[in-house]
């Protein structure tokens, strides 16, 4: 069951505080407005920082709520493997999961005795419940682009590489340019292109 063109495109983002998840949803939203699309986005501030879980959503089209109902994400853009698994309420066979394969081990593993499952086990579970899993080492690609901080923009590039969001790359790049610090534009453009390329190959 794929989304009809008249239906909204639903993007769920998930990651860890400090990864720049919210910056990416605001860039996508800005690009949508630039392209004349209807869009609503939602995020949680405050406690989500300090190393906690960060979720945000972007819904493009005629929508009345920024929240994505059960199983209705077209894309789950997950910046961390366990956070991909934690956000799967919105995942179904209509969903492509784009996931950064680099784990960020929470402190609960060291001090509460919690277990971090093997990444390959997580991937297997994700493959079983979704349409497709696009696994990329976004952190490595960001380092290749010049700075690991650009991991989030690699992920955005990967989203664009999947051709789900009908927005021209130039519009998205313009939105990135407006939202990141001037001196970081060049690295982020490289990071974006590497993300697009990696996702197209998958």
């Amino acid at each position: 069951m794929s989304a009809k063109s008249t239906e909204a495109i639903n993007i769920q983002l998930a990651g860890v505080g400090g990864q720049g998840v919210l910056l990416i949803s605001s860039i996508i939203g800005l690009a949508c407005v630039k392209h004349g699309l209807q869009v609503l986005s939602s995020e949680i501030h405050g406690m989500a920082q300090r190393g906690g879980v960060v979720w945000s959503t972007v819904r493009v089209g005629e929508v009345y709520s920024p929240m994505i109902a059960e199983g209705e994400a077209d894309v789950l853009l997950a910046f961390e493997p366990v956070e991909a698994a934690r956000a799967t309420e919105v995942v179904s066979k209509r969903t492509e999961i784009i996931v950064n394969t680099r784990p960020i081990i929470p402190f609960t593993v060291g001090t509460w005795g919690h277990k971090y499952p093997p990444v390959k086990d997580i991937m297997k579970v994700l493959e079983g419940i979704s349409k497709k899993v696009v696994a990329i080492d976004a952190e490595q690609l960001a380092r290749d682009a010049g700075n690991k901080v650009a991991t989030n923009v690699v992920m955005l590039g990967a989203l664009m590489g999947r051709d789900i969001l009908q927005i021209p790359s130039e519009v998205m790049k313009k939105a990135i340019t407006e939202k990141v610090p001037k001196k970081a534009v060049e690295i982020n453009m490289k990071a974006f292109d590497l993300g697009v390329k990696a996702a197209k190959k998958a």
Partner: protein, 619 residues
């Protein structure tokens, strides 16, 4: 120029609900804005902080919400347009002046934004502010989308001036923190300086005056009742003729209702309430008269449900009115929850919820950052008290220490409660009592409690965790810093030590929590003092730019665990628990160099000297 100040009518921007609120107030010709930061309203203040000077308005971070409301009220009573904003519990703090402000009334429009937090993403309770509107008599409106946040806030100033009463704007997290396109309107200029006209028989509510002001308030409420019946944001949608089901809703719930109804096969009419106080009872009755059954969809309390039932009774309607019998009275709604309730009313069985994943995931709660000074203070305290004290806590990042392994938060009730409850613990028990408060929270409301402790000879140790900012809500300034709401860097900053001594506290010490040995010794001395002893533990929040000392090459000092020396006792993890520490495969502790910021406290915590500095010239 900041884009939010653009004079271009029709300009479209992708704005956060909170920023749209700022734009709405600016378009209305706002003169003054006041706040104490609180999620989910905090970004309103952060944006004013950036643009106030350029916009030619006055903005301040007040010491607390009560003061914020009073400052704005003084301006509004004089004739300026004023806005005050805070989270739901902020209105608790400001409720005292707010109740009587509805008696005195205002001359210039005064809009009060109150941001509720269903699902308690970042609050201590889930209270429903709509009851404050009923309690005070003030009108209350509820926007849904960013565009409405702008437009309804703009209009709220006119309503406030028309009725000469403050107007409440209720939002929830899914209104404040939703972004969407916003089309700009024309911008009115601020009024600037006005002249205050004396009128004590209206403005000084001694019994003689307040007795006369109550009927005036009731008359304003009667006029508000007329307004709400024709308020343009209260709308009805659906086909003409009789419908099987009528849904009454407001705020973020409207979105869930609309999307659920669009996907269901039923004949449904929707009434969206834009002004929730006073409720448009006539319109409600009219609406309910055209449908067979009624379902009220609202998060938290059955407030509109109560009014729907009142309206139905008065109009002699007898149909089923559902609400909290089918929907939760807590947490946020979703389209799935609302779909289930609609299907139940229509006699169908809702689909079953998805099964959870067959995969155990490690929890990832928010925690104190690597390099956080609070963690070092807590460590020293636990060593000094042998971790046998009652920890009376308060509101800020430091409350995160309730989680194991730190567990240095045993109680808090509200902003500033730590000092009063510490006094209570010390009276009721023979246990050692240590209270913790942040610097911003100290200024907010701990001061009367300290005076009380001095005067009534309470005995406990009180720690002011002075990280030089209001960290949790996004690093807003406070009276102990030199920054202010206008973006100036030369504000008079209050010296905490002098303030505390001025309150009559005799035993006061200032420590740097990164000097672990000295901090432990200071705690021991403080605990031995007969009376209130205050430790000001001062060290900048690790997230403040420049707080982490970097070398010329931009690196921080790096630390490493010497695997030969590590005795695998895990004391550093159990007592200190920096997120950069973890247990390696061989059972020794290791340091994640991506997270470590080189504060060096763990090296002081290790009893075997196994953690050593290996590089980086940051120090």
């Amino acid at each position: 120029m900041n884009e939010i100040l653009s004079k271009e009518v029709g300009k479209r921007m992708f704005l956060l609900g909170n920023d749209a609120i700022v734009r709405g107030a600016l378009e209305a010709g706002l003169d003054i804005a006041t706040t104490y930061p609180g999620t989910p309203s905090s970004e309103i203040g952060n944006t004013f902080n950036v643009i106030a000077k350029e916009a030619g308005i006055y903005f301040e971070f007040s010491t607390n919400e009560k003061v914020a409301l009073e400052v704005a009220a003084g301006a509004a009573i004089s004739g300026q347009r004023a806005m005050t904003f805070f989270k739901h519990v902020g209105l608790n703090v400001a409720s005292d002046p707010f109740m009587t402000l509805c008696y005195t009334g205002v001359k210039g429009g005064h809009v009060v934004i109150v941001a509720d937090d269903p699902a308690v993403f970042s609050s201590q309770n889930e209270q429903d502010s709509r009851y404050y509107a009923m309690l005070s008599g003030a009108p209350m409106i509820e926007p849904i989308f960013p565009q409405e946040c702008k437009d309804m806030v703009k209009g709220a100033f006119d309503i406030s001036e028309q009725l000469a009463i403050p107007v409440l704007v209720r939002t929830t997290t899914r209104v404040n923190h939703v972004s969407g396109p916003v089309e700009f309107g024309d911008m009115r200029a601020p009024r600037g300086k006005v002249h205050f006209d004396k009128n004590p028989m209206t403005l000084v509510p001694v019994p003689l005056v307040s007795k006369q002001r109550h009927p005036v308030l009731l008359e304003k409420m009667r006029k508000a009742q007329e307004l709400t019946e024709t308020y343009p944001y209260t709308t009805v949608e659906g086909k003409k003729g009789r419908a099987k089901l009528g849904i009454i809703t407001a705020g973020a719930s409207y979105g869930y209702v609309k999307e659920a109804v669009n996907r269901l096969p039923y004949d449904v009419r929707i009434m969206r309430i834009g002004m929730v106080h006073p409720m448009p009872v006539k319109k409600l009755a009219e609406f309910m008269g055209t449908v067979d059954k009624v379902l009220v969809v609202e998060e938290l309390e059955p407030y509109m449900e109560m009014w729907a039932k009142v309206a139905a009774k008065d109009a002699g309607l007898t149909q089923e009115i559902h609400g909290k019998d089918l929907l939760p009275r807590m947490w946020e709604f979703s389209r799935d929850i609302v779909t289930g309730a609609i299907m139940k009313v229509m006699g169908d069985k809702p689909p079953e919820a998805k099964k959870p994943l067959d995969l155990q995931l490690p929890a990832r709660p928010a925690t104190l950052c690597p390099g956080c000074p609070h963690r070092a203070t807590y460590y020293a305290c636990k060593v000094a008290t042998k971790d046998e004290a009652i920890y009376s806590s308060d509101i800020g990042c430091y409350t995160l220490a309730l989680l194991p392994p730190l567990k240095t938060a045993d109680l808090f009730l509200c902003m500033g409660s730590s000092v009063g409850t510490a006094a209570g613990f010390s009276k009721a028990t023979d246990q050692v009592v240590v209270g913790f408060v942040g610097d911003s929270t100290f200024f907010h409301s701990a001061i009367p409690g300290i005076i009380n402790a001095v005067h009534n000879r309470h005995k406990f140790t009180y720690v002011i965790l002075d990280n030089r900012t209001t960290a949790m809500t996004g690093h807003q300034p406070h009276p102990g810093t030199c920054k202010d709401g206008m973006g100036r860097n030369d504000a008079p900053s209050l010296d905490l030590e002098k303030v505390v001594r001025g309150l009559g506290v005799e035993w006061v010490r200032v420590v740097d929590p990164f000097d672990v040995k000295k901090t432990i010794e200071t705690f021991k001395e403080a605990l031995a003092h007969d009376g209130i002893s205050i430790i000001i533990s001062r060290r900048e929040c690790a997230l403040i730019e420049g707080a982490i000392k970097r070398g010329k090459d931009g690196t921080v000092p790096t630390y490493r665990v010497d695997k030969e020396k590590c005795k695998k006792c895990k004391r550093c993890l159990k007592m200190f628990a920096c997120p950069a520490l973890y247990v390696d495969e061989d059972g020794t502790v290791a340091i994640n160099d991506l997270l470590c910021v080189g504060c060096g406290v763990c090296a002081q915590v290790c009893a075997f000297g196994s953690i050593e500095k290996v590089g980086g010239d940051g120090k």
